[in-house]
Assembly symmetry: C2
Homo-oligomer: 342 residues x 2
Amino acid sequence: MPELRHDPIQKRWVIIASERGRKPYDSSLSSEIQAGGFCPFCEGHEGKTPPEITAIRHNGSGPNQPGWQVRVVPNKFPALRIEGGLDRRGEGIHDRMNGVGAHEVIIETPQHDLNLADMPVEQIEKVIWIYRARLADLHRDGRFRYVLIFKNHGQAAGASLPHPHTQLIATPVTPKIISGELWSAREHYHDKERCLFCDLIQQELERGERLILADDRFVALAPFASRFPFEVFLAPRHHYHSFAKLSDEMIHPLAVALKDVLLRIKKCLRDPAYNFVIHTAPNTEAAPRRSAYWDTIEADFHWHIEIMPRLTRVAGFEWGTGFYINPTSPEEAAKYLREVAL
Amino acid sequence: MPELRHDPIQKRWVIIASERGRKPYDSSLSSEIQAGGFCPFCEGHEGKTPPEITAIRHNGSGPNQPGWQVRVVPNKFPALRIEGGLDRRGEGIHDRMNGVGAHEVIIETPQHDLNLADMPVEQIEKVIWIYRARLADLHRDGRFRYVLIFKNHGQAAGASLPHPHTQLIATPVTPKIISGELWSAREHYHDKERCLFCDLIQQELERGERLILADDRFVALAPFASRFPFEVFLAPRHHYHSFAKLSDEMIHPLAVALKDVLLRIKKCLRDPAYNFVIHTAPNTEAAPRRSAYWDTIEADFHWHIEIMPRLTRVAGFEWGTGFYINPTSPEEAAKYLREVAL
């Protein structure tokens, strides 16, 4: 059983998911299904994944059969387990609980080598539709404080299978970087009664130098203090706190904006490995006793997607300090991304 | 001029050190001297580095000449610049200051391929002696809030030159992970009037299952909530807040303990790439107006070294959340490291 453990120095939760029978020098992270010649995500190989959770099918085909367009399955090597209670316990200075959670794979297309950036907008809409549906569904489970949707594209970004897919992890704790953002947003709101992200977007729209794209629904920009070269922040232009509550009419413009940004990154940086992560409001249905904590969440938080091309190695300095060195200014990155021919 | 920029969402400082004339797809981090057939760190090549800051020489040789045992030079491609004032300024929601700081390279030996783990204890003592001397010297500069000493060993850990070396960065801000630790330590001390790290070390000595080594001066253990497989925490067994104030009689036992841990990692994991970072108290001489902030620092903080073998890829999940998945339990890692034949 995996375990969640709390670091009393960093005040950070870590998933300890021991896999038995490995040699110590063979410790590569295999939280995804292992690579090989055979692809378990391809159409016709439905039997090689755990039974599907949901899928988009328009041809009347049954579950775990060919004929799907987007398919969601449990991760075959999950970092967290869906069954059981949390069983929180202390051990002197340390805290632990059972590694309860969900770990799912969203297979974005039946086509083995069609990158998200190159999919038709209608296909990306289906992927987004599934993201929203999984978020909303997992928010009904009161054990899960946070649902994290993230994509690893390319080996350098941690993908172990090339078939386009996104992952999702639902956890009983709010991850540290997310709770840092939640606190900043709350503090700003309590000071000013304005959303921190709305203020930031407004300022960037006025200055323009870090802007990559802006239409009436979405804005993409190179963050002022980007940690990585060509990092992109993509968010709704107006205030929305939760991706789970994305309205139907936002799905098409989001698919257009996401495709645009991913294509710009692909062209500009020669199809680099990248990660993206959706930062959305936590599950306010979980932990009802703490609900006062979220009293302004609808007004203070603003969902967004962080896209991080993997161009630089992260060394000891970054790991040991949380302090990053970025060799490309965000203004320069935004200019390249704005001006690249699509 | 490099710049320090503050992220208003993450409340984190980032170094933006643009290098001109690079193509966007060629954005590899070249903060260290570039690799090649020729090694600028070897004895006899002293003219190929910037002029030395200090060195240990026992044979009466002059600066920038052969005959040294440990040599400190400025990084040829520094992430921060030593000259000038901070010039702090705001820009709406954003904050920036000049990228003022020191970025030095400590060349640990004249021998090109003698790993730190394999050096005689006397040589490691000299390296530690230099760490302490550089820390103490840079603490005399009131602009520098924090001096970070870190080592990247192997390409996967970000080293671009194989010749054994450590780096040092002095910054005008306290890095986020360090300030998180400082706050935790302070909170614990204010609650209990005991050092958080002393409490943790005591508990681990009693339980034993995560212990790697313990003598009367130093203790090494696998942290309860290790982020990475085979992560090691090495600290003085008794309370000392600052590496800069390391007493002479601690240098030999530290060299012995560090060599022991590095050798265990090398043998157990087949000479993996690794990073280590020294976490010490910040420069209490800097920013005198904030000195009340550090009123209990000597009692509440406890210096330590974090050693992180680079065995796993870090993917989107980790970047986007600060939430780590570790596939090797610390108890299992400690057992392997304790039992390996040296």
